[in-house]
Symmetry: C2
């Protein structure tokens, strides 16, 4: 049986998963959490196979870190599942209810999407995270993980399937594509009518490839070329704290700042303070012409720098005339993830919030808050940077669709 | 300047359109409605060019009907615009608002999607309908109409642009791709970062081609292989009325019924009544083996019939064991648009409503109600048959996205 046939079984299974009660779904997840904790050795054994293979092929250290599991990491994977169980069910919620003129009664009710496909890279904890979010929201899941983590993923998924069998459910609620070739990814992206939505989680290359090749609807995630604009009225201490936090607290993530824009009336005074502050964290600055005049010795930024998501301790810096030029720069270069203005001027703040077309727009706070946990969504399956369906951090609610349930007494049109 | 550059201008223009007030958008639309009424002759003149060309190339009569405008049709196009103006604005609505644990204040606010691309066929009224819905919801619009209607569409769009210029707005809020080749459609479908969503409106061929080729997010619309299931406890009169209405009131539309499923315990008694009723409307029945035994002389239905959206006075008929088999048949053959059960059994009704995964599910009412007007959405830009973003009839609300507006006092993470 090839994997397309297996995915058809997942689709078939999704119907019964969709009509389980919340209690039944929670029971599956609690048992799955226990199963992970009871099988730490089994998971580590398989993770070791991946790690050994990774060493052989010379995988870089940052990837090795993402791939490596430990007892502690497995316990926290299990704890994360229990946290999801505690959240309210996102399905069966009546979003709207009314009688139409014709006499029919209309209820708009949230329902699972059906089958969610996740394409991801080397982190095995994504496997258990996504399984818990999908099961909780009544969705069956097709996982396509990176080949680096295949043994770890197979171990985790086999435990989930064991739980489903033990509880008398269809084990096809969860399915891992074990064929780790690019061909199977390409085929998966074209399973219209079987997979209802694809969520790629990973680097820009992966996401661009899914957007380009998929015929199944995609939710684009993750790319974050985020900006902080320091207006002339900004409190310098606040601005420095926010820049420091947005750039250095976790430079590898998508909500980290990549470009600093500074109002012309303050840049001569302010930029040396920025350099002093960020030098302590070993941040490399790349500046526009004006910036380089004030901060002698730094690299000059190219136009490409302003389009780059460094995910590293590098910050591009540009002097702008005012909030209008800041907005124009951001519109041109941003990936529409998160942008902040630091200002005391409420009119400029208002203008910035309205004019910037990003998933999250901030006044006087760090871009680092764009996160399911910080936004109190309870959990996060990714951060959408497209405008269709979901935007910004996606939690359980974003894993649902809705349907119209109509009851009548023989009404015709 | 090629059309990609023109679409970039539309993207640029979308920013200022997005921050107009509702009053400004309404002013544009009211003047557009007046402009259409004041230019009936100009529109008809251009529509005549299309009609003459259509005659020359031998366009079929149903297409000619869709293409042809009249003074009356133009007036009703203008009236439809005024109806849209009367609706509340869907943007700027606070969907959620709260303080997060970190102290930041979060507001989730509805915003325009940005640039909406519409790919459609021969009906020129779609042009003014879509312009009004997009402008009202703050979206710029790129239109790609069928080549049959190019002169009509150019006339209508030039009037919209005239209004925008007269009121001092950017005329690029509205743009028609005048190059009617397939190449331009293909290029349009790949304008990621410029067009935010594509909505194809037309036949299955058009929609399938957009789903297959677009890299821009698509909302799939329109395909409707709708089912009516008559349970053993159904009121026969009610069932006959609903079947008649669902099949014959407007057979060419997507919410018309295409397949009738009948419970085994009643088919011998019920199907002759169906034939008697539908014979009066010249409906051709195509039946399963059991159906053909009762209704002698009708054509036998093939498996392909059960997958076909006839859009015509043809109805496929199948006898099923019970509600379970009805659900299974629908899951396999439906396009997930609209399905109905006719029953007095509340348990079966409940099961059907939960188990059927379609945009609209009905108990004891006609599938023909799946419509923006009937659902009281005020207007309709299409009927989504996918589960992402919007499902079923899409009105103004479905032409919006949202963003998170975050205000702080220097919070860092």
């Amino acid at each position: 049986m090839n994997f397309t046939d297996n995915c058809r079984l997942v689709k078939e299974a999704s119907y019964s998963l969709g009509i389980l009660t919340n209690e039944q779904r929670d029971e599956i997840l609690l048992r799955f959490a226990d199963k992970l904790k009871a099988n730490v050795d089994y998971i580590l054994e398989n993770n070791n196979k991946d790690l050994e293979h990774a060493k052989e092929i010379g995988l870089k250290t940052s990837m090795m870190d993402r791939l490596a599991l430990s007892e502690e990491r497995i316990i926290s994977m299990a704890d994360a599942i229990v946290d999801v169980v505690k959240l309210p069910s996102p399905v069966g919620i009546v979003l709207d209810e009314y009688d139409a003129k014709s006499g029919i009664h209309i209820k708009k009710v949230s329902v699972p999407i059906g089958v969610v496909g996740i394409i991801y890279e080397a982190r095995p904890n994504v496997t258990s995270d996504c399984i818990s979010l999908c099961i909780k929201s009544g969705n069956a899941i097709v996982l396509k993980g990176g080949k680096e983590a295949i043994n770890s993923n197979m171990a985790i998924v086999s435990l989930a399937k064991e739980v489903l069998r033990e509880l008398g459910h269809d084990e096809n609620y969860v399915y891992l594509i074990e064929d780790t070739t690019r061909e199977s990814t390409n085929a998966m992206m074209k399973l219209n009518g079987i997979i209802d939505v694809l969520i790629p989680r990973g680097g820009k290359g992966l996401i661009d490839s899914v957007v380009k090749n998929a015929t199944v609807p995609v939710i684009e995630t993750g790319a974050g070329n985020c900006h902080v604009f320091v207006d002339e009225s900004a409190d310098f201490d606040m601005a420095l704290n926010i820049i420091d936090n947005a750039k250095t607290s976790r430079p590898s993530v998508c909500n980290a700042a990549e470009t600093l824009l500074v109002h012309r009336n303050i840049y001569k005074e302010f930029l040396p303070l920025v350099k002093e502050r960020l030098d302590k964290k070993n941040v490399e600055l790349r500046g526009c012409e004006d910036t380089c005049k004030v901060l002698t010795g730094i690299t000059e930024a190219t136009e490409e720098d302003f389009f780059t998501e460094y995910n590293d301790l590098i910050l591009a810096v540009k002097v702008v005339e005012d909030v209008n030029e800041a907005v124009k720069h951001i519109r041109k270069h941003s990936t529409n993830h998160s942008e902040a203005i630091i200002t005391k001027d409420t009119a400029n703040a208002e203008y910035f919030l309205n004019a910037i077309d990003s998933a999250a727009v901030y006044v006087n706070a760090s871009t680092r808050f764009t996160d399911g946990g910080e936004f109190m969504l309870g959990a996060e399956i990714g951060i959408s940077t497209q405008k269709l369906h979901a935007r910004g951090p996606m939690g359980l609610r974003e894993l649902t669709s809705y349907k119209y349930v109509v009851t009548g007494n023989g009404e015709i049109r």
